[in-house]
């Protein structure tokens, strides 16, 4: 997804001279081509994340369209007050691009994991939270974020995310039904969309008809889609590479509690814990029941 992001930034920078990519000293080598082609549209602010976000906000106040990029925890947590006040309270069109959502940085350890980011980003009034499911969707999301001209948090994985058979072009605020279902729908985001499709396949083998939704925008949630699905399906299973506290699952559960009586929301996600054992991304998923077999088993038990 990171490479897809860079490709999209190159296209955007070529088309929009007011676009600037700011990095907090992240992206050695991967940004070399971009920097060579668009030197006036790249800035390394250094190991200073509060400056990254505050400066981006100041640029936006003055008509530039900055994309502020670094690893999720440094971007969102280190500079959270700048995100809150300088960007959201001032309603500035800054796109915050966090790389390494979930446990994408796996063996680097919990300081580099992002398990709370969707939760805190969701809590910010005026923030749009987009979690692309694939490299292609990442590219579309970059262009869409620019067009929104509002505060956006774009949560990327890292590398190796598979393609997803998208049914429609990405549109902010719209969930995408990738697979029809009747017994249940898995509502997933990010890297878990591919996992959800595999889980649904496993369950189909046992006769359960499980649909899959790519909820690429977590805020605002596509509540219209959930309402339509709830007319015929009474079990939603959310799936995210994020803590069970406060992420996509919570967002869906909140809406269901408010508006979908009789719909049960089963939530799959990372535990409320820092994952300290050194392991690959796939290994961490499996340990937390977020591999396709784990998700399928959890859902099967509820069906």
């Amino acid at each position: 997804m990171r490479d897809a992001f860079i490709r999209a930034m190159e296209r955007l920078a070529a088309a929009q001279p007011d676009v600037l990519l700011l990095s907090a000293d992240i992206g050695a080598i991967v940004f070399d081509d971009y920097r060579a082609r668009y030197p006036r549209q790249f800035l390394n602010v250094g190991v200073s994340e509060q400056q990254l976000v505050g400066c981006a906000a100041g640029m936006a106040l003055t008509g530039l369209r900055p994309f502020a990029y670094t690893i999720v925890p440094f971007l969102l947590f280190r500079a959270f007050e700048q995100v809150r006040v300088d960007i959201c309270q001032q309603r500035q069109p800054v796109v915050l691009v966090g790389v390494g959502g979930g446990v994408a940085y796996s063996t680097l350890g919990p300081t580099h994991h992002a398990i709370e980011d969707i939760a805190v980003a969701r809590a910010l009034p005026g923030m749009t939270v987009i979690v692309p499911a694939s490299p292609a969707e990442t590219e579309a999301a970059v262009a869409a974020a620019y067009a929104l001209a509002r505060p956006v948090y774009l949560r990327l994985g890292l590398a190796g995310e598979p393609a997803v058979p998208h049914a429609a072009a990405f549109a902010p605020g719209r969930g995408e039904v990738l697979r029809e279902g009747a017994d249940a729908f898995i509502i997933a985001c990010g890297a878990m969309v591919a996992t959800a499709l595999q889980a649904a396949n496993l369950l189909a083998g046992t006769g359960r008809r499980v649909g899959v939704v790519n909820m690429a925008t977590v805020k605002p949630l596509d509540t219209g889609l959930l309402t339509r699905l709830a007319e015929h399906t009474r079990l939603f299973c959310t799936c995210e590479e994020h803590s069970l506290v406060g992420g996509l699952g919570s967002a869906v559960a909140e809406f269901a509690a408010d508006a979908l009586p009789g719909v049960r929301v089963l939530r799959c996600g990372l535990p409320d814990a820092y994952l300290t054992r050194c392991d690959t991304r796939a290994g961490l998923h499996a340990a937390c029941g977020l591999d396709p077999a784990g998700v399928a088993a959890r859902l099967a038990a509820a069906l």
């Binding site: 200073s48 509060q50 400056q51 400066c55 906000a57 700048q82």
Partner: protein
């Protein structure tokens, strides 16, 4: 002070603002009066002399990073015709759109939201960078408190601004030596506030922050294509009201009836 016309105008504005801000704090039952009184000449030198407020997108920008002194800012903005008088009258009272810390509203001259210390210089550096990038003649001034300079984000911004030679950026530190619950020297050991700025790559000038002519002369040192300038304005918290001067008690307080009467006599003898 030299008895020239412009200085008289600035001195008169300062006297007027001291009195109006005292009245405003008294009427509201409290306010950050000490830090407002130390700020008066800085704001008059900026708003009545240095800032080019007309110019639309190329106007000069002033960011009050020590946002707790917004009530004084609102007075100045109203005097300069940026803030509607009706808004000023009800500022920081129930139903007003103006709270005790400023919220971004450029049509009223409020160039940035402030209230949590340490944000203004980063914002200002981004504004200055964008203005320089498009060749605008506009300047940006960020007003900080000396206690505020304990926030690390100030130095992230200072390093950035110097590295990118943002000569169109001016920092003014209201150096009154006090913070909320202590003198600044109790909390930090910096031997010279100016040295911090010059170590980051800024030019620095120290001036008497209650001398409008000296402030104006200092601000005249701002020039594009040079290192950014930090003006360390040595001020007295609570300046103008004897019992408030240099008194930590008056960081946030309301004068009672007797104190108010005494303060009025001192400000308008």
């Amino acid at each position: 002070m030299t008895p020239s016309g412009p200085d008289d105008r600035l001195a008169a504005a300062a006297r007027r603002l001291r009195r109006t801000v005292l009245d405003a704090v008294h009427a509201r039952g409290g306010g950050h009066i000490g830090g407002m009184l130390s700020l008066v000449e800085i704001l008059t030198a900026l708003y009545y002399d240095w800032l080019r407020l007309d110019g639309g997108d190329d106007r000069d920008r002033c960011l009050l990073s020590k946002g707790h002194c917004a009530l004084l800012l609102y007075q100045v903005l109203a005097e300069r015709g940026l803030l509607p008088a009706a808004e000023l009258e009800h500022a920081v009272t129930t139903g007003s759109e103006l709270c005790a810390h400023p919220e971004y509203r450029p049509e009223w001259g409020i160039e940035a939201t402030a209230g949590s210390l340490g944000h203004g210089l980063a914002l200002g550096s981004g504004i200055a960078y964008a203005l320089a990038r498009r060749g605008s003649p506009a300047r940006t001034v960020v007003i900080l408190g000396d206690g505020e300079c304990q926030e690390g984000s100030v130095w992230e911004a200072a390093l950035f601004a110097a590295r990118h030679r943002l000569g169109n950026l001016l920092a003014v530190v209201d150096h009154n030596g006090l913070q909320a619950i202590a003198p600044v020297s109790d909390v930090v050991s910096w031997t010279s506030p100016a040295a911090l700025w010059s170590a980051c790559g800024w030019r620095t000038i120290e001036v008497d922050g209650h001398d409008p002519a000296a402030l104006c002369a200092a601000f005249a040192g701002v020039a594009p294509g040079t290192p950014p300038l930090a003006v360390i304005a040595r001020t007295v918290k609570g300046k103008g009201v004897s019992f408030m001067e240099d008194a930590p008690l008056w960081h946030y307080r309301a004068p009672d009836a007797a104190e108010y009467a005494r303060a009025c006599r001192e400000l308008d003898p």
